[in-house]
């Protein structure tokens, strides 16, 4: 008979308010195999853990059951506790009486019954727990960063400075991301390019950073410490080794298309770099718009190129590399304005988005930094800024706050007053949110020093009147109707997750929330980790955030990567599938359902009477197995068991509840 100890946690009032602790402890004492039961206000505290260690020694416990929060929260904590007291960590079992009991029930009597039931289940399982031992796996000392905006650049630089090789993959022809598009940054009004481009150059020149631009992640296999990532180097049609970046091809290319970088306010050529300070400063050929690829005539760039670098025959190349850790920093998309006809975006040239406004402010933008009305090229006198366009809108936009719009709109108001003498900014807002160092003060300056009018009201309609625009709203504070005649309207567009975030998440086995932002492992305590070991998050891909937060998160992710790559070996997860050769009939249903490719066929020789026969069986690669358990369900003869979650253990749990 096993000697089981049960410890019920109050979790302050989290459990104790809804579950009768004394009753649960008393019930535990009567369960089969239980020789000791006790309770503690905070079992995860040092005192609580010491209580378990002492009890293991005093009562010679060989199995431990803890009724507490979810194993996701403290399984590792308590495994270490019992290990410190000399037990195998897998002798410890958690009964989740918080998330699955006290938090979801109100009635104390029924939740106490349920808590007792859950503890009985865990006791039944613990009695059958066996010692499991982790294997050591080597760590590939190289990191992959996906996305070359400020988050990816910062993460790559910090990882490289820690002494590890980094591959930085960027989809566009240049790194830089969204920050490269911005003019000034709040609240200091630092020039965005002035602080970003040196970092871009640092990244390009760092001996440990390998830039892989115009490329995307195609496939991710493996696991922490040993990821195998296949990267698609899209056909650039430019030989990067020969190209000198002289720019002759871009100057002569006859095909003009809207520039994505300029938000459609200017044109680029089919062979292009997104912007003048691009890193690497070598163009890519956009085949969808190239005359040679669309009509079979032209080849001007090839004729003009002095370095003979244009290669129309290039093909996409798939390259597979090994990485120990991955940082995801893929950024964001701006919200589509298709649902917001009331703002007349796309119908009137003087209605623009904030990102378009950034390009107008920018000295290297389409107007050379002058604020001019797109319709007639005149400087505007009155400009309406509409906040929360697509944000905080449950019906046709995003229910969440995009977090950066209040601040960049205040910045736009200030810059407008500085750049266009006599121009006035009128900001329509729902709430102004400025949580951040020096942010409130910055916003205060916008209306106190620069005379910006802040009107509390969501704009209901924008429509043209002669060569002006009329903006209709209400000032909810005074109750007055508002009808302004303005020259331009700037829409503070909400931010979305990347449209293909979910797809990338599936490749990486990381989850997204309802709005397709990547989920962190814990919202408070593990904000840069994901649920998949070895994959970390930085920047907007995890949720709306500004540049300082993005940089902080990127550096944090880099530390996590460095501390992982610093280890020579990682301990493997011992809860993996195991084949019982006696029962395996070799029909390989398990192999078909395994999502990690961890099961393969093996032929073994057996003595059967006087004969030696060959027989096919399934074999598990424990390094690849993630312990999902799909194979155990698919196996008809019941030959596969998941260690730590064996069929016998699960059935014992079911019996404990039902019998």
């Amino acid at each position: 008979m096993k000697r089981i100890g049960v410890f019920i946690c109050w979790c302050g009032s989290n459990i104790a308010a809804t579950v009768d602790i004394d009753k649960t402890v008393a019930a535990a004492r009567t369960m089969p195999g239980v020789v000791h039961a006790d309770h503690n206000k905070y079992t995860c505290s040092e005192m609580g853990q010491d209580m378990i260690k002492d009890a293991i020694k005093e009562h010679k416990l060989d199995r431990v059951v803890i009724g507490s929060c979810s194993p996701r929260m403290h399984e590792n904590t308590f495994r270490k506790t019992v290990e410190a007291a000399g037990l195998n960590p897998f002798y410890m079992e958690i009964a989740n009486i918080r998330e699955q009991c006290s938090w979801v029930h109100k009635d104390k009597e029924t939740s106490t019954d349920k808590a007792i039931s859950l503890v009985r289940t865990a006791v039944a399982k613990a009695a059958r727990n066996e010692a499991l031992h982790a294997d050591e796996m080597p760590v590939e000392k190289r990191a992959l960063v996906i996305g070359g905006g400020i988050a990816g650049i910062q993460a790559a630089l910090d990882i490289a400075e820690s002494g590890f090789e980094v591959d930085l993959v960027e989809r566009e022809p240049s790194i830089g991301g969204r920050m490269a598009q911005l003019d000034k940054t709040f609240p200091t009004l630092d020039c965005s390019a002035c602080i970003l481009t040196p970092k871009m150059v640092d990244a390009a020149q760092h001996e440990k950073i390998n830039l892989i631009t115009y490329s995307e992640v195609d496939k991710v296999e493996g696991f922490v410490g040993n990821f195998d990532v296949t990267i698609r180097n899209k056909a650039r049609s430019v030989d990067m080794n020969k190209c000198t970046g002289c720019g002759d091809c871009m100057a002569k290319c006859p095909a003009k298309v809207e520039s994505e970088f300029e938000e459609g306010l200017a044109q680029r050529r089919a062979i292009y770099t997104p912007f003048a300070q691009a890193v690497p400063n070598k163009p890519a050929l956009d085949r969808a718009n190239c005359r040679w690829f669309t009509s079979g005539k032209c080849k001007v760039c090839q004729k003009i190129c002095p370095a003979d670098a244009i290669d129309y025959d290039q093909e996409d190349q798939l390259v597979t590399n090994k990485y120990g850790a991955i940082v995801v920093s893929t950024g964001f998309d701006t919200h589509s304005l298709d649902n917001y006809g009331e703002y007349a975006y796309g119908k009137h040239p003087d209605v623009i988005t904030s990102l378009e406004m950034e390009r107008l402010f920018n000295a290297s933008g389409p107007t050379g930094g002058k604020i001019l009305r797109p319709s007639n090229g005149e400087p505007p006198k009155n400009v309406a800024f509409i906040q929360c366009v697509g944000s905080r809108d449950r019906e046709k936009g995003n229910p969440y706050c995009a977090k950066v719009c209040c601040m960049y709109t205040a910045k736009h108001a200030i810059l407008l007053s500085e750049k266009v003498p006599g121009a006035k900014a009128h900001v329509f807002y729902i709430d102004v949110r400025t949580p951040g160092k020096d942010y409130e003060e910055f916003y205060n300056r916008a209306y106190e020093e620069y005379g910006t009018s802040y009107i509390k009201g969501n704009v209901s309609k924008v429509f043209p009147d002669g060569d002006k625009l009329i903006v209709r709203s209400v000032d909810a504070l005074s109750g007055a109707l508002v009808e302004l005649v303005v020259d331009m309207v700037v829409l503070a567009t909400s931010v979305d997750a990347r449209s293909d975030a979910k797809e990338l998440g599936q490749k990486l086995s990381i989850t997204t929330n309802a709005h397709n932002f990547f989920n962190e492992a814990h919202p408070k305590l593990r904000p840069v980790d994901t649920q998949t070991a070895g994959v970390f998050l930085a920047g907007m891909c995890q949720g709306p955030k500004d540049i300082p937060e993005t940089v902080a998160q990127a550096s944090a992710a880099a530390v996590k990567v460095a501390s992982l790559l610093n280890k020579d070996n990682l301990m493997s997860n011992p809860t993996v599938a195991e084949v019982n050769l006696k029962y395996c009939n070799g029909d390989m249903s398990c192999m078909a359902v395994c999502p990690y490719g961890a099961i393969s066929e093996k032929v073994i020789e057996e003595r059967r009477g006087r004969e030696t026969v060959k027989r096919k069986i399934a074999e598990v690669n424990t390094a690849l197995c993630q312990g999902c358990g799909a194979c155990t369900v698919a196996c008809r003869p019941g030959a596969i068991n998941l260690k730590g979650f064996t069929n016998e253990q699960i059935l014992a749990e079911v019996d404990a509840i039902c019998l």
Partner: protein, 134 residues
């Protein structure tokens, strides 16, 4: 009541700020002034609304309000304002604006009823004349 571009760009706020020495634009409409005003029950436009109307250039609504003449300048609001706006000074500036526009006094000593003239404390009369006869 309607806010327009012209009203928003009017000089009222600038004038009032100049006369009062107070920053009308600093008010962020927390409402603490109105919450503590001892004579708010008699006002048609609340103290925080006075500032909002001024910010929005709603001149007529302001200048026709009884509030301007009801405010006793007790300074309860001013002592509590988190933005440091001396609201009585702003209201005083608005009264002066009216007086300047009308070109006349709101109160003439001659118009005071005899009973008030006799019973009102002298200090009160002096401050009333200073206020109304500028």
């Amino acid at each position: 009541m309607k806010v327009t571009t012209d009203k928003l760009n009017s000089n009222l706020v600038k004038d009032v700020e100049e006369i009062s020495g107070q920053k009308v634009s600093a008010c962020f409409q927390c409402g603490k002034c109105t919450g503590g005003c001892p004579v708010v029950w008699a006002m048609d436009v609340f103290p925080h609304q006075v500032l909002r109307y001024a910010q929005m250039g709603l001149v007529d609504e302001l200048l026709h309000s009884k509030t301007l003449w009801i405010c006793a300048s007790c300074q309860t609001c001013d002592s509590r304002c988190p933005r440091g706006v001396d609201i009585p000074k702003v209201i005083e500036a608005l009264r002066l604006t009216i007086i300047r526009e009308k070109g006349g006094n709101y109160l003439h000593p001659k118009d005071l009823p005899a009973r008030v003239r006799e019973n009102a404390p002298q200090q009160g009369l002096v401050s009333a004349f200073r206020k109304y006869a500028k």
